[in-house]
């Protein structure tokens, strides 16, 4: 069988994950993909996986953030490709280029501000109802997380710490 080549085979995403080049679009992954199953604009013939693989600039599509990394596509792929890894790489590229949904940037901001993705004020309302002691921000842990964020390139070195 001739192996179909994807539109963006020279894309740097392929360089990061060569296994994806051997995808022959059999749609097995799409049958198990929760996105393809439930999002109306996708179906087995025109699935989440194939649309992302074929897009000219797949990282610009907000839909890539729907991938929940459940790896059902990885388990079922007869060609041993790893679509989940490709989507994670696409998300990363989107984030770096400012193309990710606004909520992702807000989530990172919240994480770096209190070292948890839920606001502590919001959490303490629920904890009070359950009779639990209030959460208090750990300043040292937050500071460390901000240093890691700068060193790893999540935020730019010159940006001020969030905490």
């Amino acid at each position: 069988m001739e192996v179909l080549r994807l539109k963006y085979e020279k894309n740097e995403m392929i360089k990061k994950d060569k296994s994806i080049e051997v995808c022959f679009k059999c749609s097995t992954c799409s049958k198990f993909c929760p996105i393809t199953q439930f999002v109306k604009r996708y179906n087995i013939e025109d699935s989440f996986v194939t649309q992302l693989f074929e897009a000219e600039k797949p990282e610009a599509l907000h839909d890539v953030w729907m991938c929940c990394a459940c790896e059902k596509c990885v388990i079922t792929c007869p060609q041993d490709t790893n679509p989940t890894e490709v989507f994670t790489n696409l998300k990363e590229k989107a984030y770096q280029e400012g193309l990710a949904p606004a909520i992702i940037y807000r989530l990172v901001e919240q994480l770096l501000s209190e070292s948890t993705v839920y606001g502590i004020k919001f959490a303490n309302m629920a904890r009070k109802r359950a009779g639990l002691k209030e959460l208090v921000k750990n300043e040292k842990a937050s500071k460390e997380l901000n240093i890691i964020a700068r060193k790893a390139g999540l935020v730019q070195e010159e940006e001020k710490e969030k905490c």
Binding site: A123, A126, R127, G131, A152
Partner: protein
Amino acid sequence: MLNYLFFKGCTIPASLPNIEKLSLEILPEIGINLTETDEFTCCPDPIRIQGANQLFWLSAAARNIAVAEEKQMDIMTLCNGCENTLAITNYKLKNNKDLKDKINEILKEIGKEFKGTVKIKHFLQVLKDDIGLENLKKRIKTPLTELKVAGHPGCHILMPNEILKFDNPVDPEFYDKFIETLGATPIDYLTKNDCCGVSLSLAGEKEAANNCVKSKIIDALEAGAQVLSTACPSCFTQFDTGQFIAARDFIELKESPMPVLYAIELLALAMGRTFEDIGYNLHRVKTPLELKVLKV
């Protein structure tokens, strides 16, 4: 007595604090002693934060592991997402010296180092590997004999299987065995292994998320389940709050709401606790049906 450093994650302390409270009360009774710490940060989440920056995701997770290493304690998680992040990081750094060196260069800036000396286990893995279901059975005071439970293991504790080594990712069976140990009847249903749809909710795909929740719940209901149970707080929220929201669009969910119980809540009921004890009144779906079923 098993000793674990308790990794609570973000969702349980903020959204489901009754589960945090219950875990600290119940788990010592089955031989798990939990030590609390405020030094952990978000794991971070494997769907969105890993997507934002993989190096940061690994480094922040390695920092959390280093906290446990300093205390010379293994970690126990209550969340599939936290387990996924921490276990993958632990595995990758232990098996890739270059990556470990790269991460440790970053951690050096905060005076920490990843050594690879601790284990990271989800509560279910502790049950499976350390306690054993036969031993757990001895602690059951009020077997849930009348209860039919649809188990939902969740995706992130099953894959990547070569790292998590927890259960068969295509046909998982441990959660059903856990339900059986509590005296209840596990219900097999077609979509047992399907995703809860949390990423659809997070991406704002409301209609798709509602359809996903409805599909699983109706499937479990038609198979005869009275309760849906999971050991992942994200899946729990999707089935409980998500079902509450989906019921606005689907009359069948309004007519036959499916109660959802987190694994430790189900365990607590089998250990003689009441619905009031487990904080059932804090759930969004609180149909009184199962109160009759359990006779409590």
